[in-house]
């Protein structure tokens, strides 16, 4: 693997006003995005939202109509050859030659990356071990399962030890076990210092996997940042679920309503849902008031907003 140190202080990906049109259709409009080194970055959007277009621009397959995109400090248009050395792009199709053996396939791409023949065997063995395909070295690609072919695609992406991985729907069509294994591999890669941009429709998995996400709709960036930060951007306060002893819910609601910074209190599924005006309101004041009133507090937890909910809230389901 490469010993070259990455350039200091440049983000992994930085786009400014990135726009791509196809005739009269605007696939990507004024995308301003920064992905830091070491991020596991989720790229979320409906079908036709512009995710693949963005990734293909970053992978140097498409030239932007306007705007700039830099990958590890290199411009994707003027320094495309350098960018290709730095990235590993896994598209939303397999791109495998089914009549080749696993080793032949990886050897072929290693040669495309100009990896010397002396070190090719070791590199191939290393990546196969990393993705858990060592035992399938001599197998025909056509005989591999879908999950294994996806892993092989990941092995291909890693063959030249890129610093940035662009993965377009890497887990689509995989069974739960294969998906979980794929996610574990991605976490391991992040631990090894890779920056990963992953587009996926399986939002629940991205939530636990990614440290930052971007939501895109109709080619426009709606949100980029930590998952929990989206609530602040939407100007909604935190939500808490309060559980008290049976029969004392009405009294508890009255007590909570008297506290400062309360936006709304309602019963839902036998629990009390408390919406605060802003995140500056101290939730400890609520639990304190309930205890002081002599009510028996059985549970008190913050409602963690899911990525699916965030996605549904911030998008309208429009496609192009």
């Amino acid at each position: 693997m490469s010993d070259q140190a990455p350039p200091v202080l440049t983000p992994a990906v930085h786009t400014v006003g990135l726009t791509r049109t196809y005739g009269s259709m605007t696939a990507l409009s004024d995308l301003n995005l920064t992905v830091n080194r070491g991020d596991l970055f989720g790229f979320i959007g409906s079908n036709g939202a512009g995710k693949t277009t963005s990734l293909r621009i970053l992978a140097t397959f498409l030239t932007p109509t306007s705007g700039t995109a830099k990958v590890l400090g290199c411009d994707v248009v003027t320094q495309s050859d350098e960018v290709r050395h730095l990235i590993g792009y896994m598209p939303d199709f397999f791109g495998v030659y089914k009549d080749m053996e696993v080793t032949e396939y990886l050897d072929f791409f290693a040669a495309c990356y100009k990896i010397p023949s002396a070190s090719r065997d070791k590199t191939v063995s290393d990546v196969l071990e990393l993705v858990g395909l060592s035992e399938k070295k001599g197998a025909l690609i056509g005989a591999l399962s879908r999950g294994m072919q996806q892993r092989l695609g990941l092995a291909r992406v890693l063959i030249h030890d890129p610093q940035l991985l662009l993965l377009d729907e890497p887990a689509s069509g995989l069974d739960p076990r294969a998906r979980i294994e794929m996610m574990a591999i991605l976490q391991e890669l992040q631990r090894l210092g890779k920056t990963i941009i992953i587009s996926s429709h399986i939002l629940s998995e991205l939530q636990s996997l990614c440290n930052r996400v971007a939501i895109i709709e109709k080619g426009k960036l709606i949100y980029a940042g930590p998952v929990q930060g989206v609530r602040d951007q939407m100007s909604e306060g935190p939500v808490y679920w309060v559980t008290v002893a049976h029969g004392t819910q009405a009294q508890a609601i009255e007590v909570i309503k008297r506290c400062d910074g309360i936006k709304e209190v309602e019963m839902a599924d036998g629990k009390i849902k408390v919406s605060l005006v802003s995140s500056e309101t101290d939730p400890a004041a609520i639990s304190g008031a309930l205890v002081t009133s002599g009510l028996r507090l059985l549970g008190f937890r913050e409602d963690e907003i899911g990525l699916e909910e965030v996605f549904m809230r911030v998008t309208r389901g429009d496609t192009q």
Binding site: D81, R84, Y89, G95, E104, A111, Y113, S117
Partner: protein
């Protein structure tokens, strides 16, 4: 059955190609008719319609013989590749429904093309020298041949997964049928047995037509009807086989990377003869990949490497067989020259098919797009393709030229007079082959970037390299009436100019636009050359 027909016709109605094929089917005879009327008659004076009728009928017979195969050879293979054949059998449809439906749907398309051709052939009746009976028998012969051709394509389609393989085998079988009469005749004459006429005219539609045509062999309807019945029976046999085959062929088979252990008594193990040892494969891979990844990609299949050699070996065998038979024509070397002409044609077609096959497969699998996402430059990639293809075809091409040298020397030797005309023809012959081959590779690769079927790309390349200069040459010679020496110069000039133009432009386009075209899944198409 009607469900299958309905679906196929609906799909076909959305294809622009189907309308174009009908226009071409009517346009080609019309062009020949115009050429005949405007050029030939002005040169030779008024002529009867029989010559025109025969020309059009032979062309039409050739077209239906191979056009029908082309239509149906992908009917079942496409369903197998897409995995939809099994879905048909999950419904109430039976094997008979599927085969009859496919045959009706694909046959209807070819039938309409044939219907578009018949009025053009019928125009020769107006010129005189052709009877209504001849025209009706000719039309029946065309229909019957189309029926058999469609059935043969269908049965081959059930036994293969790739259209190329199905079409290749079906074409080979059709060629055997066309030549069977001659082969049987030659074999019987070898044993000094005079073959009955019916055997010679039984198999080939071309020979059957010769029997109804007054101007060639004298009308003899008896052999014609025997041939019609024979071909009809063969067609039904093919349909029956296709029905039996389709019941089984949709079931998935496990893909394995090892052939059965070689056993001469078991034909299933014969492919293992083509498999090299893993050590030699790995060593070759290492060497070839260092040269260019795509050089290895193109040359890794031993079957593809052996294909061009097979055509040369077959040609040599045919020439050797020719020497064995005691015939004046053969002894004079005419047969050998005839074989070489066919070999030239087949070799060019194989070269185009090979280039198209590799490019279409690389593009459709997505592998080419992924390779272009690596630091591999377009120049290095094209180098790989070119050198790979030439590694497969260079040896056979050199052998063909040496073979030609030997045959022409031998002809000159036995005639004891080295004719300048013959030497000139030989040089033209060899040069044209080399130049055409050089142009075919970039032209086919460029065309294959946008097409999903390799045979379409190969067909367009063949049209540009073989047909267009041929038509230009015929027109120019007919209009200008040059002397004998100039004819060869005109021929070489047209061919060179055409090949250089097509090859050069295609190579430039490949270098400039390959990356853009391969990655243009979402972008608007750039107009082709």
């Amino acid at each position: 059955m009607l469900e299958v027909v309905e679906r196929e016709l609906r799909v076909a109605s959305r294809s622009r190609g189907i309308f174009a094929s009908r226009a071409v089917a009517a346009g080609i005879p019309l062009a020949i008719l115009l050429y005949y009327h405007l050029v030939m008659q002005s040169f030779y004076g008024r002529m009867s319609g029989s010559g025109l009728f025969n020309t059009l009928m032979y062309l039409a017979l050739f077209a239906v013989s191979f056009g029908g195969l082309r239509s149906t050879s992908d009917s079942i293979t496409s369903e197998k590749r897409e995995g939809t054949l099994g879905l048909l059998f999950l419904t109430a449809l039976s094997a008979t429904d599927v085969i009859a439906g496919k045959f009706a749907a694909y046959g209807l398309r070819s039938f309409y093309s044939l219907i578009a051709t018949l009025p053009m052939i019928a125009l020769s009746l107006l010129l005189g020298g052709v009877t209504g009976g001849e025209f009706l028998c000719g039309s029946l012969l065309l229909l019957n041949t189309l029926f058999f051709s469609l059935a043969l394509g269908l049965v081959c389609s059930t036994f293969f997964k790739r259209q190329n393989a199905a079409l290749g085998v079906a074409s080979a079988l059709m060629m055997v049928l066309m030549l069977a009469g001659f082969l049987v005749q030659a074999a019987l004459e070898w044993w000094q047995i005079r073959p009955p006429d019916v055997v010679v005219h039984l198999f080939s539609p071309l020979m059957a037509f010769a029997k109804i045509s007054n101007s060639f062999m004298g009308a003899d309807p008896q052999f014609f009807w025997i041939h019609v019945g024979f071909l009809q029976a063969l067609g039904w046999l093919c349909l029956l086989l296709a029905k039996r085959g389709v019941r089984e062929c949709w079931k998935e088979v496990v893909v394995a990377n090892t052939f059965t252990r070689m056993n001469w008594l078991n034909w299933r193990s014969w492919p293992s003869l083509l498999v090299e040892s893993s050590q030699s494969l790995a060593a070759y891979r290492n060497r070839a990949l260092s040269h260019s990844p795509y050089y290895w990609r193109v040359t890794r299949s031993k079957i593809l490497r052996m294909l061009p050699w097979s055509s040369v070996i077959l040609a040599v065998l045919a020439i050797c067989c020719g020497f064995v038979f005691d015939s004046g024509f053969v002894r004079q070397g005419g047969f050998a020259v005839f074989v070489l002409v066919i070999l030239h044609l087949v070799f060019r077609v194989m070269l185009a098919a090979s280039a198209a096959f590799v490019m279409v497969e690389d593009r459709l699998s997505g592998g080419l797009e992924l390779a272009l996402g690596t630091p591999l430059t377009v120049k290095r990639l094209l180098h790989g393709y070119y050198w790979g293809i030439w590694r497969n075809f260079g040896g056979p091409l050199a052998t063909i030229i040496l073979l030609e040298l030997a045959i022409f020397s031998w002809v000159a030797f036995i005639e004891a007079d080295l004719d300048k005309e013959m030497v000139r023809m030989m040089i033209c012959f060899c040069l044209n082959l080399v130049v055409d081959c050089l142009a075919i590779v970039p032209l086919t690769l460029w065309k294959a970037i946008d097409l999903n079927k390799p045979q379409h790309a190969a067909g367009i390349a063949g049209l540009r390299i073989l047909v267009v200069p041929g038509v230009l040459f015929v027109l120019l010679v007919s209009l200008a009436h040059p002397d004998g020496d100039s004819v060869a110069i005109i021929w070489v000039f047209i061919n060179f100019f055409n090949a250089l133009l097509n090859g050069g432009i295609s190579d430039r386009k490949l270098r400039d636009h390959l990356r853009e075209r391969v990655a243009s899944r979402f972008t608007a198409k750039i107009p082709l050359v």
